[in-house]
């Protein structure tokens, strides 16, 4: 093998980023699961989530013991996991900012690059390279971070419509905040579905996110690299 023209692909994730990623994933699973149970007690759309996909204990048992279908349990989960969510978002954000991961790997993204990579992805021609995010990936990761930020703010607006009434007002009132909270939950769940599907297609990204490092087959360096 000749050196200089071919490169081994390497994806590496420092420990703190991995810890933050998995804590964030765990807290989002808890927030979504308990949130769906809470939603079911007073749905804002004409559908409910099947109880088996929600978090809050066995509904039938809860009715016997607590006169309640498990929503007390779900609320307890939601307001416990919000601290885990807040802590892991903070950890991830600070680490991403201070290590330069945000500036170097996530931020340089423009509409033209996004469109180029998006059309390539849509026609299954986009190549995935370990250790390098394409423009579609960048927009996805930045987008989900933004969605998480909006979820935290709209969640606070629902939790404290009196003490944080300015925030609630910003979302168009209590009902507006509930609607935004639901819509961005949907966006995050949508992200997770695509994210997991792509991880299944390129499993080495999971290896890197667990062990911190994964290597892929060498690829030819583009001209000028």
């Amino acid at each position: 093998m000749s050196t200089g023209t071919e490169f081994l692909e390497i994806q590496s994730h420092p420990l703190i980023r991995r810890v933050a990623h998995w804590l964030l994933a765990l807290s989002i699973v808890i927030m979504v699961g308990s949130g769906w149970r809470i939603y079911n007690t007073s749905p804002i759309f004409p559908f409910s989530f099947p109880e088996m996909f929600t978090l809050g204990g066995d509904g039938a048992i809860a009715i016997v013991h607590h006169n309640d279908g498990g929503v007390a349990n779900a609320i307890a989960w939601h307001f416990a996991a919000m601290w885990l969510l807040g802590a892991s978002v903070l950890l991830y954000f600070l680490h991403t900012l201070f290590t330069g991961h945000l500036r170097r790997d996530l931020l340089p993204v423009g509409p033209r690059l996004f469109w180029r990579d998006f059309s390539a992805a849509a026609t299954f021609r986009l190549e995935h390279r370990l250790g390098e995010y394409n423009a579609v990936q960048k927009v996805f990761y930045l987008g989900v971070l933004l969605a998480i930020a909006i979820m935290i703010l709209s969640g606070l607006a629902i939790w404290k419509p009196v003490q944080l009434q300015f925030l609630t007002w910003m979302f168009g009132g209590f009902q507006g905040a509930r609607l935004v909270h639901f819509l961005f939950m949907s966006a995050i769940v949508g992200f997770m579905v695509v994210h997991l599907a792509l991880v299944a297609i390129v499993p080495k990204t999971l290896v890197a996110m667990v062990t911190g490092r994964a290597t892929g087959a060498p690829h030819r360096a583009p001209a000028g690299e």
Binding site: I10, A80, G131
Partner: protein, 247 residues
């Protein structure tokens, strides 16, 4: 991300990666088990969630401002046909007789004489159009009129340095609030809903209207008030809901 030139990938590395991948997949499976029913019903999990709920009580007490008012709305937005809400049907709601009713006082209160409905109605009153927010997520704007609890507590010589005020109700319900909330200017003993004497199913002769708390912290058909330094239990708090439940 950095690219190192010319490294060759060995079979050993590939083997390790496979093993790690397998482990990673198994931990993903463990996360998905969270959605199962058993985990929430375990004592250890309930212990952690209970401790977090107590922590959230403290956070909420710190967030509560004794002077910040709940948003008030135009009277035209007040719902005339307010939603009946309890854990039993309307027909089972207590119907109290005004002539027989007596409000009992206990605890750190100077004058513990009982109050009749007429005596209560003679107290100074004010109105509010505020949003009732239910823990379930629905909310409704209503108009309530009555006496600030603070006015009443002052009138009967309450030790307002005490920490809590507790309530018991004709239907067996019980609830307790922190003293700062009890003294909040919008916390009222509501004698009227939508400009009419509080109907039986809404808590006649009076309910507590606290626009800074969730709906279940607004007890109806109140028959006794106690002022105490020991945290009074709450009906729904005993069933797993958060105690402070401020909004």
């Amino acid at each position: 991300m950095a690219k190192l030139p010319g490294l060759q990938r060995t079979a050993l590395v590939a083997q390790i990666e496979r093993r790690v991948l397998l482990r990673g997949t198994m931990s993903l499976g463990a996360v998905s088990l969270l959605g199962g029913c058993d985990i929430s019903d375990s004592d250890a999990v309930q212990g952690v969630l209970g401790a977090m709920s107590r922590w959230n009580d403290r956070v909420q007490a710190a967030l509560f401002s004794p002077t910040r008012l709940a948003p008030v709305f135009d009277e035209r937005l007040a719902v005339k046909d307010f939603r009946y809400n309890a854990y039993y049907p309307k027909q089972k709601a207590p119907v109290l007789n005004a002539a027989d009713y007596r409000l009992e006082l206990s605890g750190l209160i100077g004058d513990k004489r009982k109050w009749t409905v007429d005596q209560l109605h003679a107290l100074p009153q004010q109105s509010q159009v505020t949003r009732h927010v239910c823990v379930e997520g629905w909310s409704m704007i209503g108009k309530w009129s009555g006496t600030p609890l603070r006015t009443f507590l002052d009138r009967v010589g309450t030790d307002t340095t005490a920490r809590y005020v507790g309530f018991t109700c004709a239907d067996g319900y019980y609830e307790g609030i922190d003293m700062p909330t009890a003294l909040h200017p919008q916390t009222i003993m509501a004698f009227q809903l939508s400009d009419r004497v509080l109907p039986s199913e809404f808590g006649f002769p009076f309910k507590l209207r606290i626009p800074t708390k969730l709906g279940f912290k607004n007890p109806k058909w109140i028959t006794s008030i106690t002022v105490t330094n020991r945290e009074p239990p709450g009906f729904w708090t005993d069933r797993g809901y958060n105690w402070f439940s401020g909004i």
